[in-house]
Amino acid sequence: MLNSRLRPLGLALAGLALAGTVAGCSNAKESSDGGSSSGDQQFTFWDPYPQFDGSSDWVKLVSSCGKDAGATIKRTGYDTSDLANKALLAGQQGSSPDIIVIDNPVISTLADAGVLTSADELKLDTSAFAENITAAGVVDGKTYGVPIGANTLALYYNADLLKKAGVDPASVTSWETLNVALAKVKAARGKGITFSGIGTEEGSFQFLPWFWGSGADLKDLASADGVSAVNLWADWLKKGYAPNSVINNTQTTAWQEFATGKFGFVENGTWQMGNAAKLGFKYGVISIPGKDGGAAPAPTGGEFVSAPVQKDAGRYATTTKIIDCLTNPGNLLKTDTTLSYIAPIADVQQQQVTQNPKLAPWVKAVGDAKGRTSDNLGTNYPIISEQMWGAFQNAMSGSASAESAMKTAQEAAASKVK
């Protein structure tokens, strides 16, 4: 009864399973990252670039640095939002990787957890690196890793649309002139500006240039300056200069909106340069304006290379060699071109600009940039950031006024920070 009808299905399923296993196994050898040669020590390497596989320049560079130091690298790419938790879990279980590349604001959290070794212990020389970029990894005067590259935010503009609207991009130097430009773009049937105001760290990242540009300080969210930054965003929505979707936009979706050609400006980062070349219209880049003029300090993105604590301190010597290899001025140009980052060393930045003049505005922006966890905010930053994004979300969606939203945020943050 049952058996005769199920048997063919069972065989089919077994066959598929076998095929699947064979397909999986036969490709397993090809998809493992990094080569393997006998006699070398194996070092584990974690980074947040799952989009790069064994054939990519990045992985080839990592393997060659390993080989030069006498080690075989086993590299794994993780989703960046997950990597911090994985690092903590691994630290708890004693299975930390030898080297980790991780987003800069997380360094202070990991350092606080006791998971990372300091640059002093590793005998790593950090003097060549730009201070404003290295500051993100400094906790209580000790440096816990070196920057591998930096990126930051600026305003991309649609040159064709601005021309049509009669806006000169060079005139956008303050909030007032920006608002004037947005009004002109709207009058010319375009849409003003788009950005990412989502309720995550990405939103805070995009909000900070305006917050810092108003003169406000993260230690006091409810200051008049801070409130004015929130009002800037909320007013853009009210006046129709920014679309409602910014409340949920990631930086990718904001870019996609800009790519439709209907927007005058988008706030986005260095990593879009490759995509910018594919736009169907002429574009340009200007610094994000501060409230009363000048360039606003934008937050630094980009990762740090760091060495988690290992039971066997003897491994550190090789680890230091590998990190040196990845970040010495000679190799940094290659690393940062591969990752589309701005180098954290002044000389190498010049080399980058010589190689690609389009990087000039970005080098300037990185020079003006600031680490989020700098000013010894360390692990207090995530607490403040979470309250801050709640505040501008509430203000933009109309649930609260900017003043009351920031006041609530400041009270909550103050009660939780150390």
Binding site: L88, Q92, D112, G114, S245, I247, T379, P382, N394, S397
Partner: protein, 317 residues
């Protein structure tokens, strides 16, 4: 024989028969435990430790440092007090209640209607019914993202359709009024296949003779449904609703990907709040997150007890 008597016997589908003369002999009941050994080993190996960890995380003061080194201070119910006194607590409870009951109501009714409809043998009924499961093949990040795209304020096809009918734009995901409704809609969509498949299986177990007898008695489709189909489906419905309830309480990915529980806390449920407290910012804060997780487990426990009482009441009839 009349329908009602046969239906009566078959209706005790998932109930315990506790009349003395039908209880199996003692050795048989001990033998029963032999069959349960794999499940018991399984439960202890894979559930006991995570559950213990969850309780322990909620009773200690875990910072990132003490998480890694493992020596967190015992603070009793402090994490729970912090959770209860948080302004988000009330909203989270209310949203969870609305989200759960509305989702289940719609999922069950739609699933049942579809199960009855596709139970008839018309051409392609089997294939079409199987296609209803396709949404479950998609990783949640894909289905939730797709719904985000559909409901986008400016570029979503739903708003484009509304505009075509002259209706105003609805900010599905970015307005505090609509965000909960938007995630409920997506959740109903995801829950329909579950209800459809199980209820359909239950329908298959109703012998054809009962339907034939009902037709012979002159009952139309609605009366057959009310007096034959629905009562016989009660036990299967009970388990479907209970499991649906437990799974809906746990729903996290859909809400998180579509709205992150926002804007503000307008679509925050206990499940998303638990994750937000634990992992939502750059600084993990395990204690309160685990406390909310345990509150969820207690809520499920209460409803589980209600289900057991219902089952026992059925058996006594």
């Amino acid at each position: 024989m009349s329908i009602s008597k046969t239906a009566d016997r078959t209706s005790r589908v998932a109930t315990r028969v506790s009349t003395r003369e039908e209880r199996p002999p003692r050795y048989r009941r001990l033998l029963g435990w032999a069959y349960l050994v794999p499940v018991l080993v399984y439960l202890i190996a894979f559930y006991a430790y995570p559950l213990y960890r969850n309780v322990e995380l909620s009773l200690r003061d875990y910072t990132v440092r003490s998480f890694v080194s493992g020596d967190a201070r015992f603070i009793g119910l402090d994490n729970f007090r912090e959770v209860f006194s948080s302004p988000t607590f009330a909203s989270a409870i209310i949203h969870t209640a609305i989200f759960t009951f509305v989702s289940i109501a719609f999922q069950y009714v739609i699933g049942l209607a579809l199960a009855v409809f596709y139970n008839q043998n018309f051409r392609l009924s089997g294939t079409l019914r199987a296609l209803f499961l396709v949404p479950w093949l998609l990783p949640l990040i894909v289905s939730a993202s797709t719904w985000s795209w559909l409901l986008n304020s400016e570029s979503g096809v739903v708003n484009a359709a509304l505009e075509a009918f002259g209706l105003p734009q609805i900010n599905w995901l970015t307005s505090p009024t609509w965000s909960l409704i938007a995630v409920i809609i997506a959740n109903i969509w995801i829950g329909i296949p579950f209800n459809l498949v199980i209820l359909h299986s239950g329908l298959q177990n109703i012998p054809d003779e009962l339907f034939e007898a009902s037709a012979l008695d002159g009952a139309d489709a609605w009366r057959t449904f009310r007096h034959v189909t629905f009562p016989l489906l009660k036990p299967v419905s009970a388990i479907t609703l209970l499991l649906g309830f437990v799974y809906t309480l746990k729903v996290f990915d859909i809400i998180w990907i579509m709205t992150r529980g926002g804007p503000g806390a307008s679509s925050t449920t206990l499940s998303t709040w638990s994750y937000q407290l634990g992992f939502g910012s750059l600084l993990p804060h395990f204690g309160p997150g685990a406390a909310v997780g345990n509150i969820l487990i207690i809520v499920a426990l209460v409803f589980g007890l209600l289900y057991i009482r219902y089952e026992n009441a059925q058996a006594k009839r």
